[in-house]
Every structure is written in structure tokens, then in C-alpha cells.
């Protein structure tokens, strides 16, 4: 399998603090990869590097075998989409206008004919059909996040990079987003998603990458990567992983906390 996106030997520091310390990650077509790890582990920074927002001190990022710097902004926008953690729109655009902006890289390209279809499927994936006429400042945080997600879906890039897309969503939409990304991968696309919800990652991701202290601690299928001992050590909190009806259930082990507290 040739990788669509491949990072090797990534080193990046913020001041004296080394945030990424030699990270390797290769993701191919048809894969949904979840990046998990505690706060400050370097997940978002890694996503910034993959998106080209941050330039690493060492290491390279290749997109289809070509370094990121070898692409013009527009070429990059047709190849990969990015959903950032915060999406504040500075003027009162309608949700429909915002989602249409996702199509802007395709102006003058053959795919422009698909604009309506792509927008419709983005709107459906995020379930924002009833919000289209509303202006962004009128929407709730979760609704705004869904509009941003719809815009990124409408962009219809093969490679999707998403930073905590489920952070402000209710359960229904969390499941919908991950299911949508899994569909994208089934259809031959690539998705790398930063997640905090380990259970959600276990249910939908093809591969899970556990990051801590700027290094990759585990990289493999959910059943292999989500090792309770590793997770408990990384999160400094007891975590249990159960196999139930062929599904992984990952949750903080509260019984042990209670026992520790009483001990």
C-alpha cells in the first residue's frame, strides 16, 4: 500500500518545549485513522504539521509522494481538506454561504459541475439542512461546528484532516460524523481525525495512533492499540477496555478510582 500522506521524523518545538519528537505516520487510501492521547500530547500539533500550518524543524511530510512545499495552495486545497478545532466566522454569513465556500477551490475546475451535489451531500452528512438560511452568529456552538463540518465535506478532498470534530456535538451527531468519515474511507478516501472519545475511536477507526509526550506510543488496529495498561499509563488514569459482543468498550475505570480513594 502506498501512503497518501506520510510524515517521517517530525520534530517540532514551541520554545524550549519539544512538542513532537520524531513522529512517523503513514496513512493510505481507504483508511480512517484516529489520533488519541492526553491534553498536550502533540495530536493537534501533528495535525497542523500534516496540514502544512506548522513547519517542522526536522522531518518531512509527503502528500502522494510530493513534499507539502511542492504544492500551490489551490492544488493542496483540492487534495486535502482540514477541519480546525475552532471555526469562528467573522461576519454574519448564512450557513449556506459558509458551506458554499467549501467549493471555492474547485472554481474553474471540471469538478465545479458537481458543486450542488457535493454541497448537498455535505449538508446531509452534517444534518444542517434546516439551518441553511440562518446567519452564523445566531447558531449554537454545536450547530456552528456542524456547518464547518458540512463545509469541509463539500470541499470533497480525498484526504481529510479533522481536529476534534466531535468536541461540541451531541451523541447523535458525534456518531453521524464518525460514520460519515468511515464511509469516506470505505469509498477509498483517507481521514485522519484527532479524537478525545476513545470509545468513539474504537468503534469507527481502522487504526488508532496513541500519542504521548510528542512520540507515538502505539499504532495499530483498535484492539491492538487500545491496550488498557498503555492507556492507563498515558492518561495517568485507570482505563478499562472490554470486548462486548464483538465491540470494544473503552471507559475510565471508576471502580478503581473509588477503591483508591477509600484505601
Amino acid at each position: 500500500m502506498s501512503a497518501r500522506i506520510e510524515a517521517s521524523g517530525i520534530v517540532l518545538s514551541y520554545g524550549p518545549r519539544r512538542v513532537l519528537d520524531g513522529v512517523d505516520l503513514a496513512v493510505g487510501a481507504g483508511e480512517l485513522v484516529a489520533l488519541v492521547g492526553p491534553n498536550g500530547a502533540g495530536k493537534s500539533t501533528l495535525l497542523h504539521v500534516l496540514a502544512g500550518d506548522a513547519t517542522p524543524e526536522q522531518g518531512t511530510v509527503l502528500l502522494d509522494g510530493v513534499p507539502l512545499g511542492g504544492y500551490r495552495p489551490l492544488e493542496l486545497a483540492r487534495l486535502r481538506s482540514v477541519l480546525t478545532q475552532h471555526n469562528e466566522v467573522s461576519f454574519a454569513f448564512t450557513a449556506a454561504e459558509v458551506i458554499e465556500m467549501g467549493r471555492s477551490p474547485w472554481r474553474g475546475h471540471d469538478d465545479e459541475e458537481q458543486d450542488d451535489a457535493r454541497i448537498d451531500s455535505g449538508v446531509a452528512a452534517a444534518e444542517v439542512g434546516h439551518l441553511l438560511e440562518r446567519r452564523m452568529p445566531e447558531l449554537s456552538g454545536g450547530e456552528r461546528a456542524r456547518v464547518a463540518y458540512a463545509r469541509v465535506r463539500a470541499q470533497a478532498a480525498d484526504i481529510m484532516l479533522l481536529d476534534e470534530p466531535t468536541a461540541s456535538l451531541d451523541v447523535r451527531h458525534q456518531e453521524a460524523v464518525l460514520a460519515g468519515l468511515a464511509d469516506h474511507a470505505r469509498a477509498g478516501g483517507t481521514a485522519i481525525v484527532v479524537l478525545h472519545d476513545l470509545d468513539l475511536a474504537a468503534a469507527y477507526a481502522d487504526r488508532i495512533v496513541v500519542i504521548d509526550g510528542g512520540v507515538v506510543r502505539a499504532d495499530g488496529p483498535p484492539a491492538a492499540a487500545l491496550d488498557p495498561d498503555l492507556l492507563s499509563a498515558v492518561y495517568r488514569h485507570p482505563i478499562s477496555v472490554e470486548h462486548r459482543d464483538g465491540e470494544l468498550v473503552v471507559r475510565p475505570d471508576r471502580t478503581r478510582i473509588r477503591k483508591d480513594a477509600h484505601a
Partner: protein, 374 residues
């Protein structure tokens, strides 16, 4: 693409129903207003000229022009000849150039404001508030005091452009954090830039002769008094270039509203877009300031009203702001020169009188919405 719980795509309205109809209506109304107010304004003053005579005078000039290019066959009807012996000269030497200047400068200021708000991602950015106008006025006053003439009639506009550009870059560099500009930072940076430019203007005033001093004071107050066709010939092409450039950036400015990183993820070349926008703001503001002085708040009030009526999409915003700014400044200038008989009020004073409270109201609204001075 169907998610596990995705529902069928609802029929998506291509555009808000009637949005483009409303835009066309507003544009048509503004054009009619510009024509009507131009005629009314041309007739008002110490020597009042009735509208039929104004139309007759214009028709005469056009007929002469048509004859000059060998189209004698085409003649416009002349409704009435100007009755007063001085009417012709008053119209063509004084009032028409001044009206043209008001229209052009109004468009330049309004588009400069819209552009600045777009690139700062802040609806309260305005060239005069953040000190671009005073930067330009300071540089122009330097040109007066030093008596520099190496660019001919373009010397003080040229100086104004450099001063305006420097001030814009300074504000842009100093007031941004994390890809956007907070209201407080923007306003405070504006205070600092205005203070320094004000000190510079004061120093230039101190150095100047009595006649130069009058010119400098005129800059600080803002006035279209004494506009000649030569002045219009300088500002018009610069404004056309500025507005055209702004229109070319319109789509990128829309994307910038999503955030700088988000825009770059959609293929916007950030650095280039920023630099072009900042230069265009300086060009539009400086050409207006160089010839008419500091006329504040047009770039704030007009884009705001347009956004309220037609939404924030920049293509429409820029076109309609240009028209709205033109009409607003024409009306303001007509009031400035006719409100008090035999006196020409400074137009900058009038726009500030209306714009100041408007700015205050916007600030309060921004504060209420953000829950603080964010």
C-alpha cells in the same frame, strides 16, 4: 455519502429568495439617488440654477463634444439655456468638479473601509479610526512644509500614499494576534498611531508659514472646497484601480471570514492576499486624504449599513459600498457648503458628527454580543 443516521438531503435553496432582486433594487436606488442629488446639488448655492438649465448646460457641452468627434447628426435636446451670465462657469468650474470629487472620494473611502474590515476580520476597522488617514495627512503635510515638488501635482498624493501605507502596515502588524484583530487592540493601536501622526502634523504646522499652515489645517478638517478638474483626474483613476482590485479580492475576503488558516486550507494564498489588501486600503485612503483631507467614518458607516441590508458577501458589499459612499459624501458635502450661507463647513466635521455616535453604538453592540471588550 450516507452516514449511519444521515437523513435525506433537503431541497437546498440556491440563494436566499429574492436576495439578488434586493441587491439589484438597492443598486438601482443608489444610482438614481446619485443622479438626482448631483442635479440638486449642482443647482444649490449662492447662485441657484434650476434643474432644467443644468440639464440644458450639460446637453450643450455634450453636443459640442459630439460635434468635435464628427457626430454632428446626434444632438441632445436643450431644454433650457442657463439664464444667469455666470451660471455656466459656476457649474463647470466649481460645482461639477466638486460633485464629481464627492462621488469619487465617497466611493474610495467606503470601499477602503470595507476592504480593511475584511482583511482585519473586524467590522470596526476603519482607515481614519486606526490612524491610516492621519498617517497619510502627516506625510502630505511634510510635502507641504518641505516644499517638495519632485512628483509634480502627484507629490502630496504620493507622500500621502507612503504615509498611509506605513500606518496601515504598522496597525496591521501591531494589532493582530492569532490571525485576527481584537476590537480593543485595534482601537488602542489606532489611538497610538493617531497620537504620533497628530504630533507629526502639529510639528509640521509649527514649522510652516502662514499659507502652508492654512493648507495643513484644511487637511485635518477635511473639505472639498476649491476642487478642480485636475484633482478629480488624480483621484478618479486611483479609485477605479482600488475598487477594481477590491472586487478581484472579494472572494478571498469572503474566505478570510472563516479564519486565516481556514482560508489557506481552501487555497487562498494568505501572504499575497494580505499585502494586496493592505496596499489597496492605503491607495484608496491616501488618494482621498491627499486631496480632501481627513473625512472619517464613511468607511465605517456605509459598509455596516450595506451588511445589514444585503449581508456580508464582499462582492456585493464592495459594489454597493462604493455607490452608497458616493451618495453619502455628496449629500454631506452639499450640506457642508449650503447649510450656512456664505460659509463652507468642513465636511470632516459633519461626517464625524454623525459617525462618532454610530461608532459608539457599534462598539456597545460588539461589547454586548461578545460579553466583554473581546
Amino acid at each position: 455519502m450516507t452516514g449511519a443516521v444521515a437523513t435525506a438531503a433537503p431541497a437546498r435553496p440556491r440563494r436566499a429568495a429574492g436576495a439578488s432582486g434586493r441587491r439589484r433594487l438597492v443598486i438601482a436606488l443608489l444610482i438614481v439617488a446619485a443622479v438626482v442629488f448631483s442635479l440638486v446639488s449642482a443647482g444649490l448655492g449662492q447662485l441657484s440654477v434650476p434643474v432644467p438649465e443644468i440639464l440644458g448646460s450639460i446637453a450643450n457641452q455634450l453636443n459640442a463634444g459630439l460635434a468635435a468627434i464628427g457626430l454632428e447628426a446626434v444632438r441632445l435636446p436643450v431644454v433650457a439655456e442657463p439664464a444667469h451670465p455666470n451660471a455656466e462657469a459656476t457649474l463647470w468650474m466649481i460645482r461639477f468638479p466638486r460633485i464629481a470629487m464627492a462621488l469619487v472620494v465617497g466611493a474610495a473611502l467606503a470601499v477602503g473601509g470595507a476592504l480593511m474590515q475584511g482583511v482585519f476580520r473586524n467590522p470596526l476597522a476603519e482607515p481614519a479610526i486606526v490612524g491610516v488617514s492621519s498617517g497619510a495627512a502627516f506625510a502630505a503635510s511634510l510635502a507641504i512644509v518641505t516644499g517638495a515638488t519632485f512628483l509634480g501635482p502627484l507629490t502630496s498624493p504620493g507622500f500621502a500614499f507612503v504615509g498611509g501605507l506605513a500606518a496601515t502596515l504598522l496597525v496591521y502588524w501591531a494589532s493582530r494576534a492569532g490571525g485576527r484583530t481584537e476590537v480593543v487592540t485595534l482601537v488602542l493601536t489606532g489611538i497610538a498611531v493617531n497620537a504620533v501622526a497628530g504630533a507629526g502634523i502639529a510639528f509640521a504646522t509649527f514649522l510652516s508659514t502662514t499659507q502652508q499652515r492654512e493648507q495643513i489645517v484644511f487637511w485635518q478638517l477635511g473639505s472639498l472646497n476649491g476642487t478642480r478638474w485636475q484633482d478629480v483626474a488624480i483621484v478618479l483613476p486611483v479609485t477605479v484601480i482600488g475598487v477594481a482590485g477590491a472586487l478581484l479580492l472579494a472572494r478571498r475576503l469572503d474566505l478570510l471570514a472563516l479564519g486565516e488558516r481556514q482560508a489557506s486550507h481552501l487555497g487562498v494564498p494568505l501572504e499575497r492576499t494580505r499585502i494586496i489588501a493592505v496596499v489597496l486600503v492605503a491607495v484608496l485612503t491616501a488618494s482621498a486624504v491627499a486631496l480632501c483631507g481627513i473625512i472619517a467614518f464613511v468607511g465605517l458607516v456605509i459598509p455596516h449599513l450595506v451588511r445589514m441590508v444585503l449581508g456580508p458577501a464582499h462582492r456585493t458589499l464592495i459594489v454597493v459600498s462604493a455607490l452608497g459612499g458616493a451618495v453619502l459624501l455628496l449629500v454631506a458635502d452639499t450640506v457642508a457648503r449650503t447649510a450656512v450661507p456664505y460659509a463652507d463647513l468642513p465636511i470632516g466635521m459633519l461626517t464625524a458628527l454623525v459617525g462618532g455616535p454610530f461608532f459608539f453604538w457599534l462598539l456597545r453592540r460588539a461589547r454586548l454580543r461578545a460579553g466583554g471588550w473581546a
